[in-house]
Point group: none
Amino acid sequence: MARRLGSDGAKTEEAIRVAAIDLIAQRGFEAMTLRELAERVGIQPGTIYRYFPSKGGMLVALLVEHLNFLLDRWEQEQPDAADPLLRLRAFIDFHIRSHTLRRREVFVANMELRSLAPADYRRVVALRRRYEDILTGILEDGMRTGAFHVPDARIATFAVLAMLTGVGTWFNESGRLGKRELVDIYTQMVLQCVGARIAATPAQRKAADRRSA
Amino acid sequence: MARRLGSDGAKTEEAIRVAAIDLIAQRGFEAMTLRELAERVGIQPGTIYRYFPSKGGMLVALLVEHLNFLLDRWEQEQPDAADPLLRLRAFIDFHIRSHTLRRREVFVANMELRSLAPADYRRVVALRRRYEDILTGILEDGMRTGAFHVPDARIATFAVLAMLTGVGTWFNESGRLGKRELVDIYTQMVLQCVGARIAATPAQRKAADRRSA
Amino acid sequence: MARRLGSDGAKTEEAIRVAAIDLIAQRGFEAMTLRELAERVGIQPGTIYRYFPSKGGMLVALLVEHLNFLLDRWEQEQPDAADPLLRLRAFIDFHIRSHTLRRREVFVANMELRSLAPADYRRVVALRRRYEDILTGILEDGMRTGAFHVPDARIATFAVLAMLTGVGTWFNESGRLGKRELVDIYTQMVLQCVGARIAATPAQRKAADRRSA
Amino acid sequence: MARRLGSDGAKTEEAIRVAAIDLIAQRGFEAMTLRELAERVGIQPGTIYRYFPSKGGMLVALLVEHLNFLLDRWEQEQPDAADPLLRLRAFIDFHIRSHTLRRREVFVANMELRSLAPADYRRVVALRRRYEDILTGILEDGMRTGAFHVPDARIATFAVLAMLTGVGTWFNESGRLGKRELVDIYTQMVLQCVGARIAATPAQRKAADRRSA
DNA sequence: TATGAATGAGAATTCATTCAT
DNA sequence: CATGAATGAATTCTCATTCAT
């Protein structure tokens, strides 16, 4: 059969992307086979090559798309305010929300960098760097204004991002914690970590009290 | 020739282990081939099977060895004292030292869990769990004594371990930071993070001052 | 869009033929892909099937067309005269001219016979045989009249055709030799080869003198 | 099964070479598949890669081996004498003998150059060039001594080699002609072609008379 | 203890071909 | 007349693994 009724390139590509992220997150990029991927999507392996130049090319495409999504979203969602504390809160919230929402993408983006060809690696790392720079900027501002106290803004960036990103490793949508609480808990820990003077909003304190009760 | 003069099983096995950790850290477990590994060690691929039952069996052996090493060492090195703050400091120091020293092992242990067969996975995760429990225990003690203030000891464990383990990702032996400073910086951040009242030792404050000067 | 303005089947077919000969000559029939061919022509691969029944069918069509062209042309251009020497000169001239002009077609016709399906092979070889027979006829006539002295007309045919056709392998339109000289040189060699008593015309001798001067 | 009883690398490689030349001559390099080749040899396709780095690498190896064989043999067999006529006779004899003996190798070497990667192509063409140079050298010597009369030694080389090599295309071991006669016939034609004053030895004349009787 | 020959299964990728539109 | 989506079969090549020696 040359073409299934109503087959549509854009839909097929999206289906491949979704299934690929899934499979890569599950098994790892190297361990995933295109056969498997094709079967999930319900197409023949060869068809993947209409949409991606190669298995490796697919990985880059996926990672670039994800990082651009993050950067674009932050661009839109970031608060107008200049206050570092407020901005940090917003960033934590944004990061956790997007990292639990697009959990598999994040996982893949963190694990599979080494599967990239050198040129692709540089491209992806450059995008990731832009994301890291957002946080570094906030921390540096806060250090200047005295809102934060960290030994080194860059290292703190790594530390905070590692902490926040780690959430995706164990967080379970259907577990005992809701996303709201998760954000609260991490906000408190991060603010403490960067030595913010006001560690928690009243709302957070209340939430914390409830938990420890 | 059946045996080179002075060839020695124990040495061969160790050479395989070292080369394997190296290669897996570089390329990932799935991407590493036994041919490559054998070539590095200077043996034939078939010879690997004298020491490990299979490629997957080698991974378990490597991970188990590493985790046992960590647990044993902590057992030996942990302070006698019961003071949570002191114990936390010791743990941070231990963790960073062992994680920069055996950097590649740690990396592998974090990245390649999903390459394990289910039974092996459970075995390795159980060992890792014991390591996590050390930190959780310290944090819970500290919460009880009022030394620390975290919303949730388990989550804080994940957060702190993610933060600390992340060091291995970017730390460079020959970079601008020495291990001593690294430990100081992270100690401060972790202590802040868990809401320890005394955030830094005088030594650390001095180091921090130097840096911000 | 179903049809570009002014798109024209006959033109498309000719464009495919030209590009196909080109590509087959360059890479070989098996190595050429229809994708490549389509791309050169600026169409989609599927479109080729409007003009040729299959890849193999295209090859036959190309070869048959070429051989018919050669036979038709000779039919038109051959001299009226019966003199074998004159006819042989005319044939050499014709062959070299058409083989340098349609160099790629000739190359393909010589190289790709084995890519044909058996039935197609027989058909094409029969046409080629008719072309060979022209030369064999001339040589046999010449042997009868005493104009030529060759051990065997059929073998001489193969030898002369191999010699002449080999020109296409190395001849370079923009090289040191013009076509006129090329024909002269080969005429002399062929005439010597078949033991023609008069080896060269005065014009050829002059050309040869110029070269050896 | 890991290894058949008495399996032997050197034998396996030779078997692959023989079968490969056979198949390439039959179908063409591109059309031959490694599956087919392996099946003929009675091994698995993957085993071929113990002996050749790739399909393309196998082709180079085959061609280089063949050309080196030709060059080595001529080195040994060439006559001591300086007489161009004698040397030319020896070369014709050598060429036809080796080209009917190793017919398939020759065919492959002539047809499959374009299947080589650029670097390999240059290497093989350089070797072929050395072989051509042998004939060119003989012809130039003969032109100097007045033994031969050709318009251009290089072009005559191409012409003569094309003629001689063409033999492999149609010659049939079990056909009406023996190799002895074949050499005689071609010797006469070549000598005529290069304008050698003594066109044939008495033996050849006798053979020619028999045929024309 | 180790080699080296070979396997067999499966990997990514390519390609001629089909056909609804 | 032509496209563009897709197929399905085949291709080269890789790799963990086996085992006689």
